[in-house]
């Protein structure tokens, strides 16, 4: 149980968070790990926050990550990264996509979106900021933000021995395998 690693993927509905978690799960299974994955959606569909928990190791029982035990947090959005910090170990790492998606309360002027969330985040935890959306756009694949983040995560988790192309090919249409690999590799190179 002690060898179990905990990865949290969080974002805003529609960002591709759950596809990313599926890919990671497939890759980890290929490597022979016992993997448990859990999603929370439902009300989160309407532009609310989305989260997926992945736990892997020799033998994993619970599919749910408890507060204070996260090893890696992959956040598709700044505020969401900050929201999930309590789930992380002190020596855990956050990969955060440098994007701010304003909740309706901010859009309607009822709340402020803190101007330096990344700064606040860095004070708490080891933080790696990626312009994942921009990197994906550079490669002509604006929907590839999630792949950039997955690539970075794979590098940080030291899971380079896994055939990730296979995991991708099992999850996306054939014509999207190459573009997704490109963005994935870009992610690898960023951390």
């Amino acid at each position: 149980m002690d060898d179990t690693k905990n990865i949290l993927l969080v974002g805003v509905g529609g960002q591709g968070t759950l596809l990313a978690s599926k890919l990671l799960t497939y890759g980890l299974m290929q490597a022979g790990y016992d993997v448990k994955m859990s999603e929370i959606h439902g009300m989160s569909q309407r532009g609310g926050d989305v989260s997926a928990h992945i736990r892997y190791g020799k033998k994993v029982h619970s599919s749910v990550i408890e507060k204070g035990s996260g090893d890696l947090l992959i956040s598709f959005e700044q505020m969401e990264a900050y929201r999930w910090v309590p789930f992380m170990r002190e020596d855990g790492t956050v990969i955060v996509n440098n994007q701010a998606i304003h909740p309706v309360a901010v859009l309607s002027g009822k709340a402020n979106y803190h101007e330096d969330i990344i700064g606040e985040l860095s004070k708490k935890i080891n933080t790696k900021v990626l312009d994942a959306r921009k990197e994906a756009e550079d490669l002509g694949n604006p929907r590839g933000t999630n792949m950039v983040l997955v690539g970075a995560a794979v590098k940080l988790l030291n899971l380079l021995n896994i055939d990730w192309k296979k995991a991708i090919a099992a999850n996306v249409k054939p014509q999207f395998v190459e573009p997704n690999m490109k963005t994935f590799e870009r992610g690898l190179s960023l951390v």
Binding site: T25, H41, M43, G68, M79, V104, L107, E120, K166, K173
Partner: protein, 644 residues
Amino acid sequence: MEKILEKNLEQKAEQLVKEIMQDKILMSGDEALARGAYEAGVLFASAYPGTPSTEIMESLAKYDEIHAEWAPNEKIAFEAAAGASIGGVRAMASMKHVGVNLAADPLMTFAYIGVNGGMVLISCDEPGMHSSQNEQDNRTFAHFAKVPLFEPSNSQECLDMVKEAFDHSEKYDTPVIIRVTTRVCHSKSLVQTGERIEPPIKEYVKNIQKTLPVPVFSRGRRKLIEERFKELAEYSEKTHLNYIEPSNTKVGVIASGMCINFAKEVFGEAASYLKLGYTNPLPENLLKEFYSQVDKVYVIEENDPIMQNWIERLGYEVIGKPTFLPYGEMTPDVIRHAVYGDKLPVQEINEEILVHRPPNLCSGCPHRGFFFELSKKARKHDTVIAGDIGCYTLGFGEPYATMDYVVCMGSAFSAAHGTQKAFEAAGRENTKVVGVMGDSTFFHTGMNSLIEVLYNGNDVICVILDNRTTGMTGQQENPGSGRNIKMQDTPDIDIETVVKSLGAKNVARINPNNLKEVRETLDKAYATNEPYVIITDWPCALKPMGEKDYEKYGKDLFKKRYTVVEEKCIGCEACIKVGCPAIAMIKEGKELVNKKGQVATIDETCVGCDICAQVCPTQAIQFSAELSKLLDGASKQKKPDFFN
């Protein structure tokens, strides 16, 4: 040709998945429950959508061999399955926990009747209320109805137990309940699938002593239930679903469902376990054996102390509630804290800078125009609004605040009626009471709710927000949408015709995106001292559109984009007040534009509902042919993540 090619490519991807999974399949609990039903030879399955149960029927609908359907509500789903069972086939009904409240009526008596073909009810409970209004513990229904209860703890068990449950149902002549929770439904793990069996369809033979519960027959069946329960208790002792995992002799843990996984995470090998997959009735001899092996016993269960009460009644000492909270999920951190008093070190964050991200109405949501005008009206005229359950419940939030209370599915009109009568008694005659529900909710139980208003008459305004789909649970078809779960055409039941045939005299069917029309209709409804029915008629922006939709609502339906002409924008924020997630104000670098130093901007999720343009006092928001074309007619609004 293209189709064949696509099919080939799909098969290739499938092959890869098989390779990765070593012939197992990664499945959620819901998918595995559906697969189990398929393998068990189910021929009839009925459900009403509701988180976390929805994906069971969506998965089942993919099998051609099975008649899968969305029923108008859970009671009907259960009744239809009961009827199919009587007719001789294996039948299943699935629903979220609160749905069983409706289905309780047929359940209680079908427990007396028993089955012909096997019959299974799947109840998806929500400890922690991730997207529900309460966290009722539906294991109680199994005790209440005196029927067997299965509780799988992972996807493989979901598949296996459905198959076991059907055999069990037929062997013991009883409907069976399978109870799962959100974490079982929505967690994914590897599953070994099997082949479908096709048990012969049982002959229907008229037998009214069994199937017609008039008192004289029911009294006989009532005794049989007690006999049956004794047999079930024997099964509970010997089934492979209940077993001891011996380890440490000091501590024992008894748990079922997802709780066993949570417990193992905390106790590991420091405890022995009694793992229960079959929990009504409990295996009393096995409990005795377990108690003889360990010094003290924790019973870990979410919500109510159901197993605890049973075990204590047998005279054993239990550490259960209140050591463990009677509410919320028994996740490892909760168990750890309750047992050891400690928690993992958690880093505090500054809550003040955290902005919550509640769900909101999507860009282009047809409820927006109606709620926007209703909120304006309600500010001028004292109004109490009874809401209901669906996307439109979100109308309670800012900037609309157009909801005072919600009781349950289908309650809006009947509850509004009661409130209005109370206000009459209180002399509060200047308050208007409005009930609001959606189309799927109207077909669910809202029709009866409307009948209450029309029959016992008063001047309640009854609003049916018809967005042509079941929105909140992910755009499922319903009796008004013109298609069934297998996307075949059906007669679409026209709400206006239904309402009028019930006797409603004042009925207005309006386009909710036309603010003037909404405003004028509300004015008229407020001024009428009779029941007034308003039907707003515009599709959900996320719904899969069919030819019929484009015919009815226009070829450019959701294919338009709007833009802000910055020179005309005065930064007044009128557009912001409609609460659309596509609109924001930009302040940076725009100081010179106008006095307010800000201009509006519209993002790529815009689908051209036109509402912001109607409220703009300077016509700064305009249709953009250029942007619309750029998008090639497709909105950038993505489907909710879950559906990716």
